[in-house]
Amino acid sequence: MEDEKLVRSQSLSQDEVIFEQWKQLLVTESSDSEHEKDKAIALQEQLDKQKALAKAINQIRRELDLESIFGTTTKEICDLLEADRVAVYRFTPNWFGEFVAEFVTPGWVKLVVPESKKVWEDTYLQETQGGRYRNNETFTVDDIYKAHHRPCHIELLEQFEARAYVIVPILIGDQLWGLLAAYQNSRPRHWQPAEVNFLVQIGEQFGVAVQQVEILTAMQEEITERQRAETALRQTEQKYRSIFENAVEGIFQTTSDGHYLNANPALAKSFGYASPEELIEKLTDIERQLYVDPNRRTEFVRLMQKDKLVSEFESQVYRQDGRVIWISENAGAVYSTNETLLYYEGFVEDITERKQAEEDIRSALEKEKELNELKSHFVTMTSHEFRTPLATILSSADILQKYSHKLRDEQKLTHLQQIQTTVKHMTQLLNDLLLVGKAAAGKVQFEPTPLDLISLCQALVKELELINNTHAIAFVNKGDCTTACMDAKLLRHILGNLLSNAIKYSASGSIVHFELTCQQREVIFHIQDKGIGIPALDQAQMFEPFHRASNVGTISGTGLGLAIVKTSVDLHGGTIIVASEAGVGTTFRVTIPLDNRIGIND
């Protein structure tokens, strides 16, 4: 017996053990008295109930599954009370209700049917929003036919097959959640206060259980919600971080005292730092370190204060390596809820290329304008140069026509000759112009051939002396000139123009000196006159088309001679130097490479 007891003790919970021992104690200590025996039985029953209650409490503490708590406990109660049904009834929001759990002995109708959720419409309970149970009262009916129930109430109870019942409230705090009911269906029953009390205590525990479950559910929902929000946040954060990290434009956050809170890789790259971290660490004084003009930062802050934003703010800034770039900033100011400035944030675009392009365009336009002005000037000058000889021709022809009767024969002849001379002059002008134009367009043919320089020069001298029988040209040559290779046509332009000028601009009878010196790699032409000279001021412009010195007086000329000389010299890859003094004379010195065959002079 003792061993049996011991084994049984070990298999029960601690509470149960105490109760068992106490029970055993009472049983062994009971006397033979009937009264005592009754008392013992009552006590035992009391203990059993306490045990059941304790077990229910334990289960509630351990588990959070309402279904199993209700299920187990309703069975225990039903057994203990020897009732036919113990059920848990939950109110719906509109104070109808449904049975959510029950233990019913066999043979009785089931009120809890899993497939169909029957909602009971108890109008009394609905009208009173739970009736007496709201006030934590119980209701005991020993016999439904003797309880003065309304007929509709009895009808309802008959559906439950109930004959006697006890109902206790299940409260969560002050709120009525549902009811715990014990039914005797087979016969009426007088419910003992202890039994009712017991049910009340279970009802209270059920309230605790339901509350626990509700709290737990709420907590779980909150956790799920929070997890969902965290995931959403993380996804959003990833999305924006990706934009931030991969943006082509620089993105920044800076404080009002001039350091960086945040910078993206593009910004670090623009400013020449290895990483955003390096930028934040090293660039701590934006006013002094970043902007070339420190006033830019002041201006930036001023605009922020005025408009709370800055748009297309262009400035020159220093990269880490000291190089200067142009940037354009678009940014705004971010404030806290109490209106204090938190930081500036925005975008930075490197516009150095654009600025450079703008500068290039501006400069090109400038050049274009200059060129157009030059062209315009050239056209004006040219038209002027033609109008004058045309005026001469017209006036001579006019006179011949209108006043021929008043003219002597020789006068008529003179006019005719004038016309012819002027035509020749215009033709020469035209040719010179075409040459100058061709040279400007880079279209003059350069055709070097081996020549006999000395013969060429001698022939030229003779020709000029013949035309202008006013001057003598003293020609001297030195060195070996047999291997010369040059463009004959262009050479005639050079020498012809220079010699003609020497004759034209010096007094009749004076001598022009022409010296040819052939050296190993180059040839030097020296042409000297004792003429009117070229004033210093004119020397700077003398190679420009149409330019005529201020001291030419009435000596005619196209103003194109020297321009043609210069072009011809340039095409040979040579040089031309002048030494001249107004009123004294002029010396030109032209140096040309000896051998101009293509490839030799590279």
Binding site: S383, L390, I393, L394, S395, Y403, H415, S550, T554
Partner: protein, 121 residues
């Protein structure tokens, strides 16, 4: 006899113009540049002046300004002859006080008509 001063640096043109004027019974005086022209105008006080615009050293505008400043020569009718005929040049001449313009090349008829118009005044 009406005296006309011809200021023109192109020799052939100047002599032709003088010949035409002489044939038309004007007394024509020639000046080969602006400076000579101003001097002769002040000395001779002609009845009309023909003056080329494009001349070295002192151009036609300079001559006009110089003569207009001298009360003796300020009222003499002044006709520009010029190969430059842009609107800007015309305006400049009129602004300075010239009476008329002749664009080269011009016929002797055109020349005589202009002279006749401005001598009448």
């Amino acid at each position: 006899m009406t005296k006309i001063l011809v200021i023109e640096d192109e020799q052939l043109l100047r002599t032709n113009t003088i010949q035409v004027l002489e044939f038309e019974d004007f007394h024509a005086i020639g000046a080969e540049n602006g400076l000579v022209g101003v001097r002769l105008a002040q000395e001779q006080i002609p009845d009309l002046i023909l003056c080329d615009v494009m001349m070295p050293q002192l151009d036609g505008y300079g001559v006009l300004v110089a003569l207009r400043q001298n009360p003796a020569t300020a009222k003499i009718p002044f006709i520009f002859t010029t190969a430059k005929a842009s609107k800007a040049d015309l305006h400049q001449g009129i602004e300075l006080g010239a009476d008329d313009f002749l664009t080269k090349p011009f016929t002797s008829d055109q020349l005589l008509a202009a002279i006749a118009t401005h001598l009448k005044k």
